[in-house]
Structures are given as structure tokens and as C-alpha cells.
């Protein structure tokens, strides 16, 4: 009895905060656009009883999903998001790994400070931080001024409003999500394993590649999912830094919703995005479980 209640508590959270909104989104995605408030039809009329529910269900259809296949924009946006998420996840891994490695190797008394520095950006608004990248990357921005001052370039580089700016923004924003799981995996690593590898004939680099790297696998996987999944739906960063060139499904969704006020199509886009993300989410859960098993 007690156990059932204990399990029910987190699940009721899940039901209230995820399942119910998701069902509503599915419902809207099956509706039609209308000039009304809310801007779609049909509306469930519970006062009409059983007949009302029947009428309501009979008016739902998959037209919005069919519509998504008629326009190139949507599948191109999904693909582009997939590409941007993959590349920036990989880039974040490349930046975060040495960072996490350095943190894990640092003297004990430094570690809390280093950890703070990684988390510190979270203390200021995400929007402001992304916005300030505009000032850094713009043609007359800090980066270009610096590069010209030290005579690396003569002409300012066009970085802002290109995919490069989006990658920079994403890697910057999501770096902590990559660093923290990597750090926790690397910190657990027993230093005597590396000595054992060297003792058995490895060079330092081989010891890293044959011992450190495989043993941080779980951290790598966790970090990649933690970055990849939210980046797939990202829209603030491409909207602020990517200009009109960068197509991402999160941006499309935003525009359908707020510019076109086409809630049903926007909902259909969201449902497909979620279905696409279910695969990596399930894989992620599997990895976490396996890790728990190996440790337990």
C-alpha cells in the first residue's frame, strides 16, 4: 500500500506535467484551424454527454500530418535540426572532454571552484547570455575587432547569422550538460588503473585510449543525450544567432504557433518531434539503467 503510494507520487507528477499536456497537444494536432478562441475546432462539449464526445471524435482527422508531407519546409527543418544537433553534440563533446578531464585531474581543493565556474553561467539569464554572443560575433563585434587588431584578418568575418554562430551558441549554452556527466565518470576513475596500464607497457596516450576513454563511455553517452535531445527542439539560439539562413524545427514550430497562429499544424510538428526524440530518450534510459546495474 505504502509502496504503491510512493510510486504513485512521482508518476502523478509525470501524468500532470507531461502526459496530460501531451494528450492535449495530440488532440489539437488532430483538429482544424479556426478563427476563434481557441483558434481550432472542434471543441469538446461535455454538456452534450455521450453524443457530444462522439461528435467531437468524428471531427478529428490526420489532415495536419498529411499537410506536413506536402511542404518541403518541414522535413528539411527536421533534417537540418538533426544535423545541427549531431554536429553541435559532437563539438560539445570535443570541448567538454578536455575540460572535464582537467577538472578530474585537478588537486582536490580546486575542484569545487572549477565545478562552480562550469555552473556559474546558469546564474544569469539564458537569453542575455545568447544575446551577448551577438555582440561578440557581429561584424563589428569583439571577436572581429580582436582578430583585426592582432592582424589575423583584414576584413571582418561574417559569423553572426550563419550556422557557425548557431553552433557556437549551442556549444556554449549546453556545455555544462556535457561537462558534468563526463566529470563524474572521469572523477570515479581509479588512478592506479592508469599506472597498471603503464606498468604493463602502455605509453601515456595508449593508457588514455585503452583505459580512460572506454571507462568514461557512460559519461560520454549521458552527456551526448543531455545535449542532443534539447538541442533538437532548440529555437532561441537559431532565432537570435542564425538569422534567416538557419532552418531548425524549433523555429518552424514557433513561427507556426505565433506568426501563423496555426495551432493544429504547430501541434502536429511538435508531436512528430517528440516521436523522433522518443528513440534517443529510450536509448538514454537504457544506458542509465545498464550503468546502475554495473555499479550496483
Amino acid at each position: 500500500m505504502k509502496r504503491a503510494a510512493l510510486i504513485l507520487l512521482p508518476y502523478s507528477w509525470l501524468i500532470a506535467l507531461f502526459l496530460v499536456p501531451f494528450l492535449i497537444v495530440i488532440k489539437i494536432s488532430l483538429s482544424d484551424i479556426a478563427l476563434a478562441i481557441p483558434p481550432y475546432t472542434p471543441n469538446l462539449d461535455l454538456s452534450a454527454g455521450w453524443q457530444g464526445i462522439k461528435d467531437f471524435v468524428s471531427q478529428l482527422d490526420f489532415d495536419n500530418f498529411k499537410f506536413l508531407t506536402t511542404d518541403d519546409l518541414y522535413w528539411k527543418a527536421y533534417l537540418s535540426s538533426l544535423k545541427i544537433a549531431s554536429i553541435s553534440t559532437f563539438a560539445a563533446l570535443c570541448v567538454a572532454y578536455p575540460l572535464a578531464y582537467g577538472m578530474a585531474r585537478a588537486p582536490d581543493e580546486w575542484r569545487p571552484t572549477l565545478m562552480m565556474l562550469v555552473i556559474l553561467p546558469f546564474w544569469s539569464s539564458f537569453l542575455i547570455r545568447v544575446y551577448s554572443w551577438k555582440a561578440i560575433l557581429a561584424n563589428e563585434g569583439l571577436l572581429n575587432q580582436l582578430l583585426i587588431a592582432i592582424r589575423v584578418i583584414d576584413e571582418p568575418l561574417q559569423i553572426l547569422n550563419t550556422p557557425t554562430a548557431v553552433y557556437i551558441g549551442i556549444v556554449y549554452t549546453y556545455l555544462p550538460f556535457m561537462v558534468l556527466p563526463l566529470y563524474s565518470a572521469l572523477e570515479k576513475l581509479d588512478a592506479s588503473l592508469l599506472e597498471a596500464a603503464e606498468d604493463l607497457g602502455c605509453t601515456r596516450f595508449q593508457a588514455f585510449w585503452l583505459v580512460t576513454f572506454p571507462l568514461s563511455r557512460n559519461g560520454i553517452i549521458a552527456g551526448c543525450f543531455l545535449v542532443f535531445i534539447p538541442v533538437m527542439g532548440e529555437f532561441v539560439i537559431p532565432a537570435l544567432l542564425g538569422g534567416s539562413q538557419t532552418l531548425m524545427i524549433g523555429k518552424v514550430l514557433w513561427e507556426e504557433f505565433f506568426s501563423n497562429r496555426d495551432w493544429p499544424v504547430a501541434s502536429a510538428v511538435a508531436v512528430i518531434l517528440l516521436l523522433l526524440l522518443v528513440i534517443p530518450i529510450v536509448l538514454f534510459q537504457r544506458n542509465e539503467e545498464k550503468q546502475r546495474e554495473a555499479e550496483g
Binding site: 581509479d190 599506472e195 596500464a197 606498468d199 604493463l200 607497457g201 602502455c202 595508449q206 572506454p214 563511455r217
Partner: protein
Amino acid sequence: MAETKPIPQEGTFAPWTDPQAVPLIRFKNVTKRFGAFTAIDDLTLDIYPQEFFALLGPSGCGKTTMMRMLAGFETPSEGTIEIDGRDMAHVPPNQRAVNMMFQSYALFPHLSVYDNIAFGLKRSDMPKAEIPDRVQEMLRLTRLEQFAKRKPHQISGGQRQRVALARSLAKAPALLLLDEPLGALDKKLREETQFELMDIQEKTGTTFVIVTHDQEEAMTVASRVAVMDAGRIVQVDTPPAIYETPNTVYVADFIGDVNLIEGTATATGEYAYDVSFAAGADPIHVTECEADIADGSHVTFAIRPEKILVTREQPDDRANAVEGTIIDIGYLGNLSTYHVELPGGQMVKATMTNSSRISRRDYSWEDKVWLSFRASAGVVLTE
């Protein structure tokens, strides 16, 4: 301090008595400092091929540091270490014919038992085709054949310890370092493994240096034992020599049980002294003492409890006999230890084997008994 040099005998293994023998390892005035702390203090030591050499000492005396210098993980602050005649100062760990069995085993958790053992071989110049045979041989030697496919977390502590041993032996190193290899095992398994280790050492002919803080373990397995104290080696000798002729009070006290009686020495003949320990009591007569002691100097007489005979009547055939009162009796099954107070208040322990099952313990508390021992039963120590 005079060192007792056993006379080399035909057929016994004692290269340290042979001036012609070439040591495998030479520590020459090695000092190791960590910051201001001196972990190893001006240490000079030779270890010979095929020795089973034990480093014995309390925790923190520098045993692991010595091993790590041999393996190449630490470099001496001063002095040189030679292995096989070569100065090891600039040789990294992966280029030494030395393998180490780590105190924590340090098995690779992501690799199977088989791959753990093969790890070093794959890094060596052994042809790929020969590796499986060598791994099989190691698995057989350590009786791990059935566990080859398991991961380290799927086997018991004793099996893990054998994997660590197999892995460090696989490359057939000239020198194997074992840092408290049996620390994590229970007593029975530990004793079995000690004999297994000796067996493997004999079969492979590898030189073993073993660290332990268990003196019984050191005595059981080693050809020679070095007793360490605070970064220095106090005595290096065979187990019987360490036990019977310790060179200092520290060694006598560290190895086994001992009675330490302080007194003043007076020479009574060649290699013979009297040690007076209490006013009014007969002095202890000692013979076969090799130390050269000035009359009147302060000394400690050390005698093992099992060398002392406990009797009801005064024995007439022993050089030393003194009457005392039993204060306490410790019954251990095979042995009983009697704590006896001598007239001057000095406490002495004496152990007797309980050789007959039925006879009730002859002595009880407050009994007057005679303690007696031969003139050669104990040693006189000046430090």
C-alpha cells in the same frame, strides 16, 4: 652491530653470502622526499635474482614508496637504483622488465579476465599468434580457466587477486613487485595463497619483492626479510636470523613476541656477559653474544617466551633460573602463555605447549614457579 653471516652451504639458496653473485637490484644511497617529508632515508640494499624478498614494516614506513620507485612511478630524490646493472633514473614504467601487482589489484573493469591477462602481452613484441597460448598458461597456473570470460566484478576477491597475479606474471618480468597482495583475503585463503605464491615463484624463477605488514607472511614466504622503520632498513636477514638474532630492540619487538629486560652488562669471558637487571637479583648469564659491549653499558636482554621453561621445582641444569609469581595465564589451545612477575617487579612472558590433552593445567594464578633458560637462549641488544 656485528652481523651474523651464515656460512654458505652446498645446495642452499643464499646468493647474498656469495661475494661473486651479481645483484638484480641495487639501491645505492637512495633518498626519496615528498616536499619536506623524507619517505626513504639514504637506503642501500642489494636484492639477488630469484630471491623472494619481503619488505616488512609498520604502515607509512615507506614500503610502497620503494616499490613505486622500482616500478618507475616515483624517481629517487637522491641516489641511484640499478636493475640488472642499468641505472633506472630515466627509464619510464612501460620500458622496465618489472611488473607490479597493485595493492588494490587495479584490474581493468571493462575487460574480461582473459583480456586483463592479455593486456600486457598485446603491448609487448610477442607475436599475436602466441598470445592465446600464453594467456591459457597463466589461467592454468592461477587456476582461473573457467573464469576467462567473466568481468572482474563477476568473480570473488580471491579470484580477482589471482587475476592480478596472472596479469603481472604474463609478461614473464625479471622482477615482480607485490604490494600487500594478500591484504584483502581472509586468513585461511591467505595462507593457501602464500604457498601458491612460493610455488609459482619457484616454477617461474622470477624475482619477487613482496610488501607486507604481516610478519608471519613475511617469515613464511621470504628468502630474506628487510625490516623497515621510518624510511630506513633496520635489518636484512633470513627469517630465522631475523627471529633469533634481531640486531635491535625494534626488530626484536616487531617480529613475534619477546621479553625485553633492561640492565647493565659486564663481560665475563669471550662472548659472555652478565646482565644485571634488578638490585639483589642474580644477573642473567649470557653466552654466544657476538656484540662487543663495554662494561657497565646499558643494554636490553631480549628473549622469546617459548625459550623459557616454567617448572614447579628449581631446575639444576640451566644457566639461568629465577623464581616468580604467576599473574596471568593466557590459554590459546595449542599454547599457554604465563605472565610471571619477578621479585624486582619485572614481568616476563613464558609460553609452554599444551602437549597432553588431559592433564589439567598444572599452574594457576598466584602460584610460585621457576623460570629457567639457557645462556644462549636470548640476545643482548645495545640499540
